[in-house]
């Protein structure tokens, strides 16, 4: 029985469900193999002596084994946050269901793999620089114009002064 009533996104049972089912099946079959008959046939001498106790010991053995196994599974699930990871993975797999091509996998060479990670930053940087450069060039064009005009004005003033000087000779 699934403990989570949330939406089952996957077409089939989710990974958490499969995990639980598989472990339960394992336990079931193990217990079935270690049946009471088998137990008795191995401990025949004791059984002859203490049939009722044998049954009681067997029952305890089975229940203890089951409890330990279930506890271990729960611990593994908790430590690794498996429930969360399973449901995430189910979602990711579901979203990729239309992808037919094999997906990218790490090449094992960090320099190769890191390129794509850095590309978006480089692209952003490049567009930022392009804009800043354009603005700066525009600004400078205007300032250069002022400078040229200033030079003309200074030449003009110098000419006027020269003319006055000559008039006073």
């Amino acid at each position: 029985a699934s403990g989570d009533g949330g939406a089952a996104l996957a077409a089939g049972p989710g990974r958490a469900q499969v995990f639980t089912t598989v472990v339960d099946t394992f336990l079931e079959k193990l217990v079935a193999a270690g049946s009471y008959q088998r137990f008795v046939s191995c401990y025949r001498c004791f059984y002859k002596l203490q049939p009722q106790l044998t049954k009681s010991i067997y029952d305890q053995f089975i229940s203890q084994l089951q409890a330990s196994i279930k506890e271990e599974i729960q611990e593994v699930k908790n430590e690794g946050n498996l429930e969360g990871l399973f449901s995430s993975l189910d979602k990711i797999v579901e979203e990729a269901k239309d992808q037919e091509e094999p997906a990218w996998r790490p090449s094992g060479i960090p320099e190769e793999d890191i390129r794509s990670t850095m590309v978006p930053y480089l692209l952003k940087h490049r567009s930022h620089l392009r804009r800043a450069l354009r603005e700066k060039e525009e600004e400078n064009r205007k300032v250069a114009e002022s400078v040229l005009m200033g030079r003309d004005r200074i030449a003009e003033l110098q000419q006027l002064i020269q003319a006055r000087q000559q008039a006073w000779q």
Partner: protein
Amino acid sequence: MSVDPMAYETQFFGFTPQTCLLRIYIAFQDYLFETMLVVEAVMLKKLDGIPDCKISPSQIRKCTEKFLLFMKEHFDKLFAKMEEVLLQLVLNIPKNVLLPEDRVQQQYPCSKEEFQALQDEVQQLQQQYRAEVALEQALRVELEEQKIVKAELEKTLQCFDGLDNICREHGLGNFKECFAFLTQSAKKLQNVLKEVEEKSKKLKQHDQLT
């Protein structure tokens, strides 16, 4: 036989699936042995309390070993099947699946050459920008210098204009011509004075001699 390292799965889960299953296997096995030992201990204790018991501890040990051997065989078989299913269906990432954290790999595939070109372009833009900043500096410095020079020149021009205005106010229309004439006259007078001085000197000398 090559073992699939399941590196991508490890990236996602934070542990290697095989290691996880190995841990579980060992734990289960331990529990099986432990529980069997408890069974044995309980039986031995019971037998201890029975006087004239025909069953020896070593007999019980043989029973335990028999049962355990049987259990272990089934245990291994069942576990192997469980492991197979878990590795294929639960602890695996299908080949067509890309983890969200790796999405950039799909969005921005980039060869070594393309990446280098991009880096070079960025570097070039940075250099160009720095050049423009330097140019801006130089232009602004000149602009400041021009301001000072212009101010000086304009002041000089104002002086000249000022003089012209004074002349006009005082009705000296052609002050400049008068001034020029005066300057010339002053020079002529100076020359005449010099001639007179020399002539008088000569006369005095002549007088002294006679």
